[in-house]
Amino acid sequence: MLELVYHHLSRSAAFLLPYEFSPTVLVVCLLSGWLYYRGLRRLGRRPGWDALLFGVGLVSIYVVLQTQVDYYGRFSFFIHRIQHLVLHHIGPFLIAVSAPAPVLAAGLPKAIRSHVVDPLVRSPLIRTPFRVIQQPFVAGFLFVAIIYFWLEPSIHFYAMLSIPLYNTMNWGMAIDGLLFWWMIFNLRQPGEPDVRHYGVRMLVLFLVMFPQIVLGSFIALSPTDLYSIYNLCGRVLPLSVLQEQVLGGLVTWIPAAMMSVLGALVLLVRWTRVMPESAPENINSFQDSWHPTNPPKDSLKIS
């Protein structure tokens, strides 16, 4: 009995070890987690939902890059697509939706903040390109383009063979995912009306859905083996190459598009929350004759 438990424990521990250890991923993840924790303590805030979302997002990115998921991702197209779904859609979505900027900023040691981060953020060399790629339509275009680029069969072939190219691909997915979802949930032009702000973001989420559906269904329904590299380098799952291609295509198609719907829902909720504050006159103009807009408040007091 104990032996069995030990056997299972050692197997799961082995699963949590990286296939190819990357000090960069480890340091970036630990540092972000530490900054967030420090920020929460300095702000005197207790960890709530936002901390949970941030944590789950960060851990999910670490898990797909630095556990045996990465091993399966290198040799199975299906797992590779799940890995990229987490790197590009789910992890960055959770991190961005938790709005961690103030907490992370509070977590930064003062000297680093005033001497390194602030000048960097203010420098036009960073600001200008950042502003360009964070335009909603540009960010949406890049979000889709990067998916198409790495799934182009000959580029995909080399990305799975060359270690530097493979790392570039994964970093690119995570960074682009963060930029995109950051734009969706956290960036607001000063003075921009609500309709424009939320409307444009929801439109972008809607527009990025279709190219992903087209690509995913093309891969899932393709009768030929598009990505020959997986057949060459050895199979790790008991699935045929075409079965994996169908599953991988479905992952690119359905959950990826669903993240757009989820994002739009979050925006809708936020929009409805700010609505009454920003447009009180509008509410008055929709007078409902059945339910008077100004119910006799005094009646409550009386009773």
Partner: protein, 214 residues
């Protein structure tokens, strides 16, 4: 009017970064292909590391990748109990070596067994000799094998029954053959679709490139 202005500039700005990313990535992808030679196999110049490993050969001698500099090396992973793919592949490679005639001296086929549990150097020696006297069998400890397979992006795993030597168990492994030039640089990836005539043609071309004027 203002809205129009914003739209146009957003459209123009959209293209610039996209094009830059595309060009940078294409340069990254394409920097290997210097020679405009037509190969039957896939050109992987500059994509993978030079020939590097620490293994044991079929004479029970420890060898490294450097020991095979000066020859065109064909690297293939498999196991001797392999029912179909390995014998077929090794037969094709043996036919190519035969077709090369005297030039075959410049080529070294390395068959790396990823099943050291059953494939001792002696077993390997008998096995590769059957296909061609020019082939060499290699194997190693699990950590040595993991090291070399990771380097060449190859997976292998064991089926039911492992590691019991008395039962037959399947070993899943890669199907690709890597070709390295005499300097040890990874150059070509041969897949299972290629015939031995096509492999011979590629080898001839590689030999002509590596020893010009011969």
């Amino acid at each position: 009017m203002q809205l129009n202005g914003v739209r146009i500039s957003a459209g123009a700005r959209m293209i610039a970064p996209a094009l830059t990313t595309l060009i940078i990535s294409l340069v990254l992808v394409g920097c290997g292909g210097k020679t405009p030679v037509k190969w039957n196999a896939t050109d992987i110049s500059g994509v993978m590391e030079p020939l590097t490993f620490n293994l044991t050969d079929d004479h029970d001698k420890s060898v490294t990748g450097k020991d095979y500099r000066g020859k065109v090396v064909m690297l293939y992973f498999g196991y001797t109990f392999c029912p179909d793919v390995c014998p077929q592949t090794l037969t094709r490679l043996a036919n190519s070596l035969k077709a090369l005639g005297k030039q075959a001296e410049k080529v070294q086929v390395l068959f790396v067994s990823v099943d050291p549990n059953r494939d001792t150097p002696q077993v390997l020696r008998e096995y590769v000799k059957y296909f061609s006297p020019r082939m060499l069998g290699l194997t190693g400890t699990q950590s040595e094998l993991k090291d070399v397979t990771k380097r060449y992006r190859v997976a292998y795993s064991y089926g039911k029954g492992y590691p019991d030597k008395k039962t037959f168990y399947v070993v899943n492994h890669s199907a690709s053959i890597y070709i390295f030039d005499p300097k040890g640089n990874a150059r070509l990836l041969v897949d299972q679709q290629e015939t031995s005539a096509q492999i011979t043609a590629d080898l001839k071309q590689m030999i002509a490139q590596s020893w010009p004027g011969q």
